[in-house]
């Protein structure tokens, strides 16, 4: 499992870092960066500012009477961090856990939501940047995913990417 962390994370992080450099040099302040990941063959993106780290799948301790998409809690360097399985949450299918299964640790610090949480996805794929005009409003494309969690749509290299709203994802009381 550790190989996920070792192989992917530095690559993604390096890419992210170089992008930050590019942005700083060229002064494209309105660019937002997204980390993309794959679930059921579809690409999703989340604002990279919300990504704290990426870990391999590890055993979680179940939370009593939690909803099915809440896998449980993990020990993140002494902090108790819940993990939700987006695949279950978006009602794709039964959760599978293999060597590509990845937990993206997200952190949101807003007035309404202030917490750290892991989300389970099939695999992490890329980092790209996006300006506001590249973003399109979310059409009613996927009946499975509640419109609530979608921030917008965009296209990267000819492929559609669904942008997710981290704050709403982590607002677990209102799932």
């Amino acid at each position: 499992m550790d190989n996920v962390q070792q192989d992917k994370v530095p690559a993604v992080a390096a890419q992210a870092a170089s992008m930050v450099d590019t942005i700083n040099q060229e002064g494209f302040q309105d660019l937002q960066q997204f980390l993309t990941f794959v679930m059921e063959g579809e690409e999703y993106g989340i604002d990279i500012l919300n990504v704290q780290e990426i870990r391999g799948w590890d055993n979680v301790a179940p939370i009593p009477n939690a909803p099915a998409h809440v896998s449980g809690v993990i020990n993140l360097r002494g902090a108790i961090v819940p993990v939700i399985d987006l695949r279950v949450m978006f009602a794709f299918n039964e959760a599978r856990y293999d060597e590509n299964t990845v937990v993206i640790v997200l952190k949101v610090e807003s007035q309404r939501v202030n917490r750290i949480m892991g989300v389970v996805v099939d695999a992490v794929s890329d980092v790209f940047s996006l300006s506001e005009e590249d973003k399109r409003p979310p059409p009613n494309v996927n009946q499975n995913i509640s419109q609530n969690y979608i921030n917008g749509l965009t296209e990267v290299k000819g492929k559609m990417v669904i942008l997710l709203d981290c704050e709403k994802l982590l607002d677990i009381e209102n799932h």
Binding site: N59, V60, A61, P62, I63, P64, N65, A66, G72, V73, I74, N75, G78, A79, I80, V81, P82, R115, I116, M117, I172, E173
Partner: protein, 724 residues
Amino acid sequence: MSIDLSQFHAVFFEESFEGLDVMENALLELQPENPDSELINSIFRSAHSIKGGSGTFGFISISEFTHILETLLDKIREGEEQLDVDSVELFLQSVDCMRTMLEALQAETEPDTTRADQLAIMFQSILTGASAAEAKGLDVPATGASPVIQESVLPGSDSIPDSLAGFHIEFTPEADMLKGGNDPVRMMRELATLGELTSTPDTGALPTLRDMQPDVVYLNWCMDLHGDMPLEDVQEVFEWVEGECDLSISRLGGSADSAPEVMPSNVAEAVDHAPDGTSTAATKTKADEQESAKPIPDAPKTASPAKPAPAPAARAGKAESSSIRVGIDKVDSLINLVGELVITQSMLGQMGGSGEVITDDHIGNLREGLVQLEQNTRELQDSVMRIRMLPISFAFNRFPRMVRDLSLQLGKKVRLELRGEQTELDKTVMEKINDPLVHLVRNAMDHGIESPNVRADQGKDETGTIVLNAFHQGGNIIIEMIDDGGGIDADKLVAKARANGIVGDNEQLNQEQKLDLLFAPGLSTVEQVSDLSGRGVGMDVVRRNIQELNGSVDIDTELGKGTTFRIRLPLTLAILDGQLVTVAGQTYIFPLMSISESLQIDEKLVNNVAGGGDVYNLRDEYIPILSLDSIFGLRTEPLSYDQSLLVVVEAEGMKVSVVVDDLMAQQQVVIKSLEDNYTRVPGVSGATILGDGTVAMILDVAGLIGLAGNQKTMAAGEIAGSAA
């Protein structure tokens, strides 16, 4: 140099709040008719420190207000002014007022000074009133009089510009001036920085070398200081030696025949307005003006106590401070322990790094090292925990004021006794136990302690007593709230509970169960709901709060004699003595405090109550059996009873048992919040990280009972069982 003073603000606020607490407590302890001078001193010191700090850190509204307080306190301290009940009340209100203002400043908002202004006027009138009454002719230093002093020192100084050509100074130090650390040479040096100085020492008084003593000044000086400097600067040089020298300063140049401008040689007298009549006419006039400008000195004094005390509610809003002050001894002990740890570590390191073939000796040494390491770790843990420990006096200190205010409000006489105030407990526990304690004391004042005439009729002391007592017992702290009031009528409780349907008509209760009804939700024995208690939060919330801290509460009561509430709490919230158990492959933790016993299940003793689940017959007491499998939805096919164990636990005065697959170790666990990143989970009070890094849930027994639902049925089962 520019130094950012705001870095000291946090400390200033912290110590000012502490100072206000000290003032408040001393005021409450103070007997106005027979004031203890040490108490007055400590009140004065607190006011003085707050004033000094607020002035220095630029909180002018506070320093101005405390200045007036301090002036009056100083007079009281010097016996020039008497304390009475009314002025104590005024001081107490001032404490509240300053607290509110400081809280506003701490929150970086502008404080409302309306109340402070009102209070200041009242204090001012006490000050002027008293002085007018006592001594019309006597000199009263007006508060904030420094500008007046300046004028009086320099009669006519405004008529001649200070900056003509300089001054002629005759300076004759007293022989022992050096003893004060004031060196004439230093003063010369300083004068030289003001202008061009020519000085002629008069050596006439110089003894022979043999007779000369090193710490005696034999010289005097005549100096001419040329240049453009104000007189104040010159005087300032000699400020510290006033009264220890003969000094005359006159202006150089000008017409020599004009009346010499000899300044008063003994400046000290003038500055101080010593009450021997040396003060100048100018001051007199000022003081007179002030007197005539401030009319009616007596009226406000009597009017002041009529004003109702402002609600001390602001207190609850006090910003939760995120820092604690730690005694240096605690830090030192930590450093020592870390030192020991380092030694153990290096010892173990040596063994590991020796690279030799491992022998039995090595293993033996290694074991020894590990034992030592374990001990170091435990001691270190204890010491670290001690850092968070504060004496319970922090929680107790609010009660003298509360009891005083409440007894006035209720027309009862109550004496409060605090014991074991130095007993330490965790800061967080202390913060959380505050409200339950306040509720218990309010209850005791309201319902427990009888009114003075009732007490007198019963042959009791008219003054009731409430005792708050704290002590350590094992790993717990016990806090007792003892009143000598009327006690709790258990039968009245039962009647009420029956009327409310909380207890069935035919249920028989023992004394313990009857008193337990006091904590039942929605039950109050008071017919007449008073302002203080009997509404809003009830005793059920008190118990709930205590249980959330993994604590418990018992009652002892005797009709006509009084009641004791005994609260038992863990010393810290951060660590829990836990019993590890496994259910369905997961580890769970029971607080050891909640467990009364664990046992092998004898299936013959399991009974099924229709609609109420299984109960276990434990020594003729029927105890509901809870299954984590069903409560947490773990397994549909749990282990059979003969493969399981039963843990008997108590919560909310109820005994239940929980089926577990296996009992594991008992150990201390560090409690981590689930709510930080998740939400509250019913039946779980938190989580912890076990030695292998995995996460385990800590069970909340009261919550489990709630989840199991149907509490009443279970209670009925239990009651029926014990009655059998």
